[in-house]
Symmetry: C2
Subunit: 210 residues, 2 copies
DNA sequence: TTTACTATTGACCGGCCGGCCAGTTCATTG
DNA sequence: CAATGAACTGGCCGGCCGGTCAATAGTAAA
């Protein structure tokens, strides 16, 4: 992957790979226990390097934390932007697919979900800043669909996006919380029910008086 | 409040009040920074007592954390149960009022919101266990409304409850996250839009075939 | 081969952590 | 008025924290 020249695998030192191993171990630990409860020593041990080496590559614990979040967000934004741009026109089915895609993404990336949850709690704003572009794009799609009469036009398009983003996100963030509720269904069953309510709730008013 | 006998206010020692002051300081700090990032020394300083005294009254940091969460949950459950039981029959307007009440509660108790968010992340199950009773009660109400033909019957009642609980909760938990989204409205505006979508989405099917 | 640079190590630092303990002060009770 | 026990204090402990630094080892350029 990052093999410079034709250097064979005899190369003992590979700083890129080292950084990657550190980031990976840091991600696992930060995701599990949050920033404050993780010791640099643990990260060092889990990644098979010295604590000093982490400082050499990343500078400080804070900087490593920031780098971890940025790496996670790159993954997140990359896939999301892809989903959003490859779809072309706006109709109900597009929104359904958008919700399903977002839901599936969170389902497949539980680490990202938890990492962002920690970030929210420490009032990290960079995640929110970064995806405001995605939201703008999505809201524009909704607005177009409202103008075409596909969706009701008496709701703020941003709130439509927010509603499903919030629902999907919190479903996974607080899974351990509501998974013990009696009678609650699987991921798929909840998604299906939510889509019924959400999409029918967005249908245009039946009696457009005035 | 907790004045035993007719003891005047000259009483220097008041262990109940002391415990309360410790709990209050602990709540503020835990809410702000989470369990791991709070030092017993800070709690001691903020509550005006010695670190040793906290250990005397609560035993350990973990125990204090647990006591803090339990106190918060008592407040939460008390008000929620009150809202749920004082309402009698089930109709659309009842659900609307339920959602509004829940939303307003979270709006008025940001500390509880954040405390529970920390608890979720450390996979604390006791919060979820405790309110499963509330959910059961709410779901039963929805089921009755479905039988009466007030709501669509093709969705799991628990998922109806879950949907609005999740939405309200995450709206406040991740406020710092989406407050920077361009075009997003105030608490009230979002609530209004969500209610439109949610309640209309719950209306019975228009063509009840079969 | 020499040089220069960077990746990597292990030992070490001051400081803060949660918890403990011996002692003091207060309030109740017999 | 003792005296008993709980509330409360200050000081101390071992241990872990993030971070630093001088020294070493590998690597690529000259």
């Amino acid at each position: 992957m990052s093999a410079k020249q034709n250097q064979p695998s005899t190369s003992i030192r590979d700083p890129d790979a080292t950084r990657q191993r550190i980031l990976s171990a840091a991600l696992d630990l930060f995701v599990e226990k949050g920033f404050a409860d993780v010791a640099m020593r643990q990260i060092a041990e889990n990644s098979g390097v010295t604590k000093s080496l982490i400082h050499h590559h990343f500078g400080s614990k804070e900087a490593l934390w920031k780098a971890t979040k940025e790496a996670a967000f790159e993954l997140y934004a990359g896939l999301q932007r892809q989903d959003l741009t490859e779809a072309e026109q706006s109709d109900e089915d597009l929104l359904r697919r958008g919700v399903v895609n977002y839901f599936k993404f969170l389902q497949n990336h539980p680490k990202v979900v938890r990492l962002f949850a920690w970030a929210h709690l420490e009032r990290d704003t960079c995640v929110g800043e970064n995806d405001s572009g995605l939201v703008r794009l999505g809201a524009e799609r909704i607005r177009q669909a409202q103008e075409s009469g596909i969706f009701r036009s008496d709701v703020n398009p941003v709130h439509v996006i927010t509603t499903f983003v919030i629902t999907c996100t919190h479903w996974f963030e607080a899974r351990s919380h509501h998974s013990q509720w009696e009678g609650i269904g699987s991921d798929q069953e909840f998604l299906d029910d939510f889509l019924k309510i959400f999409l029918d709730g967005l249908k245009p008013e039946h009696v457009p008086e005035r």
